[in-house]
């Protein structure tokens, strides 16, 4: 079984996210880069499927040469080959990304294409679906379990009242969620192997999509209101009222 995982190079941010002066992007001057937690699970799943079935686990990204770092990280986890669709724009819009991946996939015949549910930075949650539609393959999002049975794949998702299980013919596309598995750490040998591995670079003609980032804004700070209910024993009735409202005392 051949599995291909699509990953995105994203900044590893702290609790406060600094923006560039024109507020159109995250200020990454002092940040490292990574792949999102959904994508780490996708890589882990691909490696496990390849190990189990004797197939291959590939990894693909769209981006500038720096994004090779993320491909090598995935390879140090066990992915066995990597493709980078060259795009000088570090964070292209989802339409462009999807078109680039679609073009790349026309030359690759993986049985399963995995995406993270949404990228860790932009969070559009579009690319996997756009690619599946363009390739006319079945797609399921929010996947937290993958089973393989001959030429069919079973995809499990959490639903509000239980679990949804989808069955689809191969080849198929899935967008997975963190929690799908517990991704492994790269090993030293894996890292050394990945460093020497070749990243195949392809450069299809890329059209520019229609989504534009105008400006990024910080979410208004959520302020926790502190109400002093009283002091000493005098506060007791007010505390009882609060607990009663919460249904903790009757």
């Amino acid at each position: 079984m051949d599995v291909l995982v699509c990953v995105k190079r994203v900044p590893a941010v702290g609790s406060e996210i600094l923006l560039t002066a024109d507020a159109t992007a995250i200020d990454t001057r002092h940040l490292g880069f990574t792949i999102g937690p959904h994508e780490e699970c996708a890589v882990e799943e691909a490696v496990r499927i390849a190990e189990r079935t004797g197939g291959s686990a590939g990894v693909l990204t769209v981006g500038p040469p720096e994004a090779d770092e993320q491909l090598r990280y995935a390879m140090s986890m066990g992915a066995d080959h990597a493709v980078r669709v060259d795009d000088p724009v570090a964070d292209p819009d989802p339409e462009t990304t999807a078109a680039a991946i679609t073009a790349a996939l026309r030359g690759l015949p993986p049985d399963v294409v995995l995406f993270g549910e949404a990228s860790a930075d932009a969070g559009h949650a579009q690319v996997g679906f756009r690619v599946a539609c363009a390739l006319r393959r079945p797609v399921v999002g929010g996947v937290k379990g993958i089973g393989l049975d001959g030429d069919r794949v079973t995809l499990r998702c959490d639903a509000p009242d239980g679990v949804e299980v989808h069955e689809a013919p191969l080849p198929a596309v899935a967008a997975v969620l963190e929690g799908l598995n517990l991704p492994r750490y790269p090993t030293i040998k894996g890292r050394l192997r990945a460093k020497k591995a070749t990243v195949r670079v392809i450069a299809p003609d890329l059209s520019t999509g229609r989504l534009r980032t105008l400006r990024l804004r910080h979410r208004p700070e959520a302020r926790a209101e502190t109400v002093v209910l009283g002091r000493g024993a005098a506060a007791a009735p007010a505390v009882v009222d609060v607990l009663a409202d919460l249904g903790m005392v009757r």
């Binding site: 770092e69 140090s76 090993t187």
Partner: protein
């Protein structure tokens, strides 16, 4: 957490291990109203203390660092925050094996229990290590892991319990206000605090904080890469944070230590990655912490290969993953030493920066003692923040030297090794002449000084000078030095001494000012040259220098280039506030050429019309002369034991002076000679002491043999201790030892270089009644005596001429004889040559 008071006796900025140790010791020594602030939260504010590898190897070649580490380990132990695990430095190459022997010598010199062990013995202690790549191990049983965050908490708690400390975390310092050159107020986002003292213990942020007060803390943040690999069954099975010895894999410049179920691997081998204090992300903007920057894996890959070679058995497993990887920040300085003491720019602003975890508590005590008593127990000279020349405090210099020094962290650094970056900053007016003569330049305080001249190479054969057969002994050395020495003793030599630091002290208060700072009587006739020790309050050496009285109220102070910045800061700090003394640094205005040897008078007489006979120009006096058209201040004295002068002239006239002497000297056999002669061979034959070697804060003039015949009536810094020392018997005496024709096991002649332990004939350590060890303070050839000399302080029972002892050098022991106890020179003991 309490709110900030309006006033404090001292504000300590930075609650890492150093700041916590400083407040603890200040409180212990009686300071009250101490305020400790940090921008970050407690207990881990986000600085380097929070991510350090936390191990302590007690042996260092530097005595001060070894003492600081030892003191710190005692403090960590007392706080219950030290776990002894032992440690092994392993060698993969023969050169490193030699270095481990040198480590052994240092261990013995400083009294740390250690042993060289075989690869099999290494593997016995660390069973998952592959002994086939190892040639030897340096085993130190007392190596330990410490918990600096917990130690810091306990130290804060003690100071709070003493009612001495207010702690304010999440408090950002916005400004440090000064007035009349001293600290007045610290402004923070939680209020302002009036104070006379501020201690900057901010680690990698220290330059930024000091700059708020207009001072410089010359360090740069730099990356040290670390990864954690695990889980590893054998480590997890111990159930302990650390159960196996720490391994320093010295040749690939890395270490491995157990950290619970993981093996932590750290590296000093990667390219230097420096950053700017202003570029460090804030706590909120950092992914991990401000001092744990994103890992750059490409830089670490060679270390992974090396780690697999040594620990492949446990690292090459599919379930042992790289669980944590950081580019941790630490502080690097231009010379690798810490930055301690009051900043030379701002009174009351103290630096406690560029300190490793293993030295933190010791540095806290040192700073607190220094602030309280004016002199700490451990000599702070090598770490004194006042030690830098102005250019050494620039960003460019700090970065150049830090980049060069980073890979020396685990490197093999020869005691004479020279820096290669940012050279040629300070050049004497003789520089072009010296280059033409093939000078080999060594550096001091940025000055380029010839160590020897290749133009003198023919003298080596002519004077029958032997080379040194062993590469280590001959490194950064040349037989030309000995040839220049003999040529000087035979005829004459001229030596560039422009790196001397020189200050003019003038004004109605000049005499009283100098009397207060020096041991010798300064009230001598105009024209007298006086050599004097300069002491700290505890009577230990602070400096030694020459003072020339140029007028009733005008003195010139001449001191060594290496000591100039510290001496200048010391003098400035003591200037009276009434303006009665003016102090000017004239170092750059004056160049100095030494002219010495039996023919020196003939040479000088050929270029001056002034009367330079002994009657007209006696020893220990100074006079203005004219050499051709160059006015010269001539000082009749000598550090090489020959007749001659220091000739001081305006810098721009230097080349003319050089040419005149060189031409006049030719018929007399004058040669240019380097600092190899001046600083080592000639002075050691004469038993002259050198600041930073024989002379340090641990020893006073009586032990150094430099007590003056008379005690002056005037009070001076260190007088009480000096007077007391004069009245008793010295606990140690500086001795000169002969090492005659020492040959190693392979039959090669060997030449110890300094720092080696001096041992009893049966190999026992020698310490005096104060616990100070006997070790070689200086070593050098004595070509005119046909031997190799060593200097060392010895306790009375050994400080007896003729006593046979041993010196341990690179794994072998050589017999030495005490040739002189005290200051009388071995060469020309009556000084007839220089008085001639």
């Amino acid at each position: 957490m309490s709110s900030l008071p309006d006033r404090a006796q001292v504000v300590v900025i930075g609650a890492g291990i150093v700041g916590n140790a400083v407040v603890h010791h200040l409180a212990r020594l009686g300071w009250r109203d101490i305020v400790l602030v940090d921008k970050g939260p407690l207990p881990d504010p986000g600085g380097s203390t929070g991510h350090a590898s936390n191990f302590a190897f007690p042996v260092d070649h530097s005595r001060e660092i070894t003492l600081l580490t030892g003191d710190s380990m005692r403090q960590y132990t007392e706080l219950g925050t030290l776990t002894t695990c032992g440690g092994i430095e392993v060698a993969r190459t023969p050169e490193r094996v030699q270095e481990l022997h040198r480590r052994m010598s240092s261990a013995r010199a400083w009294g740390v229990d250690a042993e060289l062990i075989s690869p099999a013995a290494v593997a016995e202690k660390v069973p998952f290590l592959d002994p086939s790549v190892v040639l030897a191990g340096f085993w130190t049983p007392s190596v330990a892991v410490v918990d600096p965050l917990r130690a810091g908490e306990l130290m804060r708690e003690r100071a709070v319990a003493a009612g001495a400390l207010t702690v304010s975390a999440l408090t950002e310092v916005l400004a440090i206000e000064t007035g009349d050159g001293r600290v007045r107020r610290v402004r923070t986002d939680r209020g302002d605090v009036d104070t006379e003292y501020v201690v900057v213990a901010c680690g990698v942020w220290s330059p930024r904080i000091a700059a708020l007060a207009g001072a410089t803390i010359p360090l740069t943040p730099a990356v040290h890469q670390m990864i954690d690999v695990g889980p590893i069954e054998e480590l997890a099975a111990t159930g302990r944070e650390i159960a196996f010895p720490i391994v320093r894999d010295m040749d690939p410049l890395m270490y491995e230590r157990q950290s619970g179920a993981d093996l932590e691997i750290g590296s000093y081998a990667h390219r230097p990655i420096l950053c700017d204090p202003d570029e460090i992300p804030s706590l909120a903007a950092a992914a991990l912490s401000p001092t744990q920057l994103p890992f750059t894996p490409d830089d670490f890959d060679p270390q992974m290969e090396a780690a697999l070679e040594l620990f492949g058995g446990i690292l090459d497993r599919p379930d042992a993953g790289i669980r944590h990887a950081i580019n941790g920040l630490l502080s690097l300085t231009p010379d690798g030493h810490p930055l301690l003491g009051e900043t030379p720019e701002v009174r009351g602003l103290w630096s406690a920066a560029a300190v490793w975890i293993k030295e933190g508590p010791g540095v806290g005590r040192l700073i607190a003692e220094w602030m309280t008593c004016g002199a700490p127990e451990i000599d702070p000279a090598a770490a004194d923040i006042a030690r830098f020349a102005p250019h050494e405090r620039t960003r460019a210099h700090v970065r150049a030297r830090a980049a060069e020094g980073f890979n020396k962290t685990y490197g093999i650094t020869h005691p004479r090794e020279q820096w290669s970056s940012d050279r040629g900053v300070r050049r004497s007016p003789f520089h072009e002449r010296q280059r033409a003569l093939g000078a080999e330049f060594f550096e001091v305080a940025g000055w380029e000084r010839p160590q020897w001249y290749r133009s003198n190479e023919p003298l080596v054969a002519e004077l029958g000078v032997e080379d040194r057969p062993h590469e280590w002994d001959a490194r950064w050395w040349s037989p030309i030095i000995n040839a220049e020495h003999l040529a000087m003793r035979r005829a004459a030599a001229m030596i560039d001494l422009s790196a001397f630091s020189q200050f003019d002290v003038q004004g109605p208060g000049a005499l009283a000012f100098l009397q207060h700072l020096t041991v010798a009587q300064m009230d001598r006739p105009v024209g007298r040259v006086v050599y004097t020790p300069v002491l700290g309050p505890d009577g230990g050496f602070r400096s030694d220098l020459t003072v020339v009285r140029l007028g009733d109220a005008h003195f010139r102070v001449v001191t060594g280039g290496a000591d100039g910045a510290r001496d200048l800061a010391w003098f400035r700090r003591h200037l009276p506030g009434d303006g009665s003394v003016a102090l000017h640094d004239v170092t750059s205005a004056v160049c100095t050429l030494g002219l010495w040897g039996p023919r020196a008078r003939d040479v000088l007489a050929a270029v001056t019309d002034d009367d330079i006979s002994d009657a007209a120009f006696p020893f220990a006096t100074a006079r203005w002369l004219t050499v051709g058209s160059v006015p010269v201040l001539a000082l009749r004295l000598s550090y090489v034991g020959e007749l001659g002068w220091e000739l001081h002239a305006a810098t721009e006239t230097g080349a003319r002076l050089w040419d005149a002497l060189a031409a006049a000297g030719e018929p007399h056999g004058l040669v240019p000679a380097g600092i190899g002669v001046y600083g080592t061979t000639a002075r050691i034959e004469k038993g002259y002491r050198l600041m930073g070697h024989e002379l340090d804060a641990e020893h006073g003039p009586v032990e150094a043999g430099l007590a003056l015949p008379r005690l002056k009536a005037q009070d001076f810094v260190g007088k009480a201790a000096y007077t007391k020392a004069r009245e008793g018997e010295p606990e140690a005496t500086l001795c000169t030892l002969r090492l005659d024709g020492a040959r190693d096991a392979s039959g090669l002649r060997r030449y110890p270089q300094g720092g080696e332990p001096v041992l009893t004939p049966d190999g026992g350590r020698i310490t005096d009644s104060r616990g100070r060890p006997s070790y070689v303070t200086s070593a050098g050839a004595a070509p005119s005596l046909g031997t190799h000399l060593l200097m060392a302080y010895l306790p009375p029972r050994h400080a007896v001429e003729g006593t046979e002892l041993l010196v341990e050098y690179l794994g072998e022991r050589y017999p030495v004889t005490v040739a002189r106890a005290g200051r009388t020179p071995l060469f020309d003991p009556d000084d007839t040559r220089m008085r001639g």
